[in-house]
């Protein structure tokens, strides 16, 4: 993975000093909240219901055990003993004091971590495929490109006050494991005539008006990626709406002027700037790529596993994926225990995962956008030892992509933007369906506590949106969304429900699915085959 050189380190260190100065000026009253708020957001610091919340960046979801231990340390020392992993592969701490924030950033900087641009109207964390570097189906590891983009976007002076936030995802396989098409810019690496390049998609997003990104550039090579992205961002910075924050994302711009008009403007801008020396030399991408070459795999690692323990076998089948290297596997650690809080991990659990990565995983972990943790490089021979350690720590729920593997935003229990609580609902759903989840098969359920859609409910096979109905919490049910390469946006079923009502409604949906499913159909496939009507009848009678 990427290792900072003196330049990277000096930039992060300078940022810590800058923020320390800004916090001092806020606390002394030299700055108003209005002036300070965008600055603190650009360091990932929100003011939430109970306290300040700090969102620490995990660039493209990749970290090592030393960094993971630091995250555990921050949870213990500055927070209340736990952290929350997010749908953008970051981690959030819910109980932060403003006065502590500069020290936290200072400690993070000692392990090459930061909270830069994890909020604010700027370019956010570059996300990627959690199986990068391990999956057999990728054309190349997407993360060197993500790192190149991360550096280009960090403190970019022209794009620090965009109309709204800007999210970029990079993948390198046909299977889309990072919901790339639901990002402001999505990048898919591919090979053409033996040359590695990328397709660029623009204008996807969730939130109030979910939209699927459009292909804007068929093929661009790394030597012009930066100037092309500058052109994309510059057109947005100049012409994105600034009159209405709910219409300020780039997806609205493309929707309003049309993809063709946007593409033309970008090409015109690109032509004007492509020879101005904005692009790093290919040697820079090569330098970064060399750091992602991958660990020294044990070439003699046995390829068989002993399945005699039935609980272990269930976990193997559900949470362990194939690795491109024989004798190895990819482990997904579920942060969705039945009845637990989706995405949360205690400091003890964080430290255990760090230990497992260091001992068995070539010292690498990933955060997934589904709020789980991945050990991308483990030997099959070590899987049993890993599983027993996870089981003893409450981290061995065998539910990857099953109905209890819920993506949920923190909701009204934590978030000042929320209309309804999402976590208690997730807990009830987990408990209701735990016994049946394997029978139901792949079923991606996503809950958002408000229309901002941080729980990605539009992209759920089953999605739930919490709303405020005359002062009480109410939940709308959506069916048929997908964030994968078969991307689609969920449709609302009809009138909403209270908390228990929506759990019952989901049960009627899943019962109807079981009665209608043919062969190996997932819920999503059955829904796409038969449509909304049978489910609507099941729900509402």
């Amino acid at each position: 993975m990427y290792v900072y050189d003196e330049y990277d380190q000096s930039i992060v260190d300078a940022r810590v000093e800058e923020f320390r100065d800004q916090v001092e000026r806020r606390l002394s009253g030299a700055m108003t909240e209005d002036q300070f708020k965008p600055l603190r957001l650009m360091n990932g610091l929100y003011l939430q219901l109970h306290a300040y919340m700090l969102r620490v960046a995990v660039p493209y979801g990749t970290l090592d055990s030393r960094q993971m231990r630091m995250l555990g340390h921050i949870a213990r020392r500055y927070d209340r003993g736990y952290g929350h992993f997010t749908t953008r592969q970051n981690i959030q701490y819910n109980w932060i004091k403003l006065a502590d924030a500069p020290d936290i950033l200072s400690e993070l900087a000692t392990v090459q971590m930061h909270a830069i641009q994890t909020s604010g109207n700027c370019i956010r964390n570059i996300s990627s495929d959690q199986f990068a570097g391990a999956a057999a189906d990728e054309v190349a590891d997407p993360r060197p490109w993500a790192e190149l983009i991360r550096q280009w976007s960090t403190f970019h002076p022209e794009f620090t006050y965009l109309p709204r936030k800007f999210k970029i995802a990079v993948i390198a396989a046909e299977e889309d494991r990072a919901a790339m098409r639901l990002h402001d810019i999505g990048i898919q690496l591919l090979e053409r005539d033996g040359v590695l390049g990328a397709k660029i998609f623009v204008g996807g997003g969730m939130g109030r008006t979910p939209m699927i990104a459009h292909e804007v550039k068929d093929f661009i090579t790394a030597d012009h990626l930066m100037s092309y992205l500058e052109a994309c961002l510059r057109v947005y910075n100049r012409y994105g709406r600034r009159d209405n924050i709910y219409k300020a994302r780039i997806k609205i711009l493309l929707h309003e002027i049309g993809v063709e008009a946007y593409r033309e403007q970008v090409e015109a801008e690109f032509a004007a700037i492509r020879d101005l020396g904005i692009d790093p030399p290919v040697a820079e991408l090569a330098r970064i790529t060399a750091m992602f070459e991958g660990p020294d795999f044990d070439k003699d690692a046995p390829d068989t596993v002993d399945r005699s323990d039935p609980d272990y076998a269930v976990w193997l089948d559900q949470n362990v994926a194939a690795h491109k290297q024989p004798g190895h596997a990819i482990v997904t650690i579920s942060l969705k225990p039945i009845g637990g809080i989706p995405g949360d991990a205690s400091a003890d659990q964080i430290e255990l995962m760090a230990d497992l990565a260091e001992r068995y995983g070539h010292d690498e972990l990933r955060v997934t956008h589904a709020q789980n943790i991945v050990l991308p490089h483990v030997r099959k021979a070590d899987l049993y030892a890993i599983w027993t350690a996870l089981r003893d720590a409450g981290l061995a729920e065998a539910n990857l992509d099953l109905i209890s593997d819920i993506i949920a935003c923190p909701g009204l229990d934590y978030c000042s933007l929320a209309n309804a609580r999402s976590i208690p609902l997730a807990q009830k759903i987990g408990e209701r369906f735990a016994g049946r989840q394997r029978e139901l098969g792949e079923l991606k359920l996503k809950i958002s506590g408000c229309i901002n859609a941080c729980g990605h409910h539009h992209a759920g096979h089953i999605g739930i949106l919490g709303v405020d109905k005359k002062g009480t919490e109410n939940y709308q049910l959506l069916l048929g969304g997908s964030g994968a390469e078969d991307v689609s946006l969920g449709k609302i079923t009809g009138p909403g429900f209270d908390e228990d009502g929506v759990v019952d409604a989901i049960e009627r949906v899943t019962d109807r699915y079981l009665s209608l499913r043919e062969a190996d159909e997932r819920f999503l496939d059955t829904y796409r085959r038969v449509g909304m009507q049978p489910f609507k009848e099941a729900i509402y009678g």
Binding site: R26, L27, G29, E33, L47, Q48, L49, H50, A51, Y52, R80, W95, I96, K97, L98, A99, I341, L412, D413, Y414, S416, A418, R421, I423, P424, Q427, G471, T472, E473
Partner: protein
């Protein structure tokens, strides 16, 4: 009744106006009535509290109870982690929120 609430600037703690100062405990909150706007402006100026604002609440035996569930969650803490609330040992606290 009308309560004045905000977050402490340095710590982020939820605080309630008691008539003389800010308290973390909603039981200490007073009805600011018509004075709310004036106090709000003065406190914003004092910069001890971030973004103070007025909320509706009803007077009950246990003290003021905010009209909206969001403010009740702010007053007590997250419903899903009773151990992290202001009243971890109180079994009825959850019912007060919901």
């Amino acid at each position: 009744m009308k309560l004045l609430t905000g977050n402490d600037l340095a710590t982020g703690d939820v605080v309630w106006w008691t008539g003389r100062e800010w308290s973390r405990h909603i039981e200490d909150a007073v009805d600011v009535g018509a004075q709310g706007e004036a106090i709000l402006r003065a406190e914003e100026g004092a910069r001890r509290v971030n973004v103070p604002y007025l909320i509706d609440a009803e007077a009950t035996e246990q003290g003021p109870r905010p009209a909206h569930i969001k403010d009740r969650i702010r007053a007590l803490g997250p419903t899903v982690r009773p151990d992290l609330t202001l009243k971890p040992a109180d079994a009825d606290a959850g019912a007060w929120v919901i």
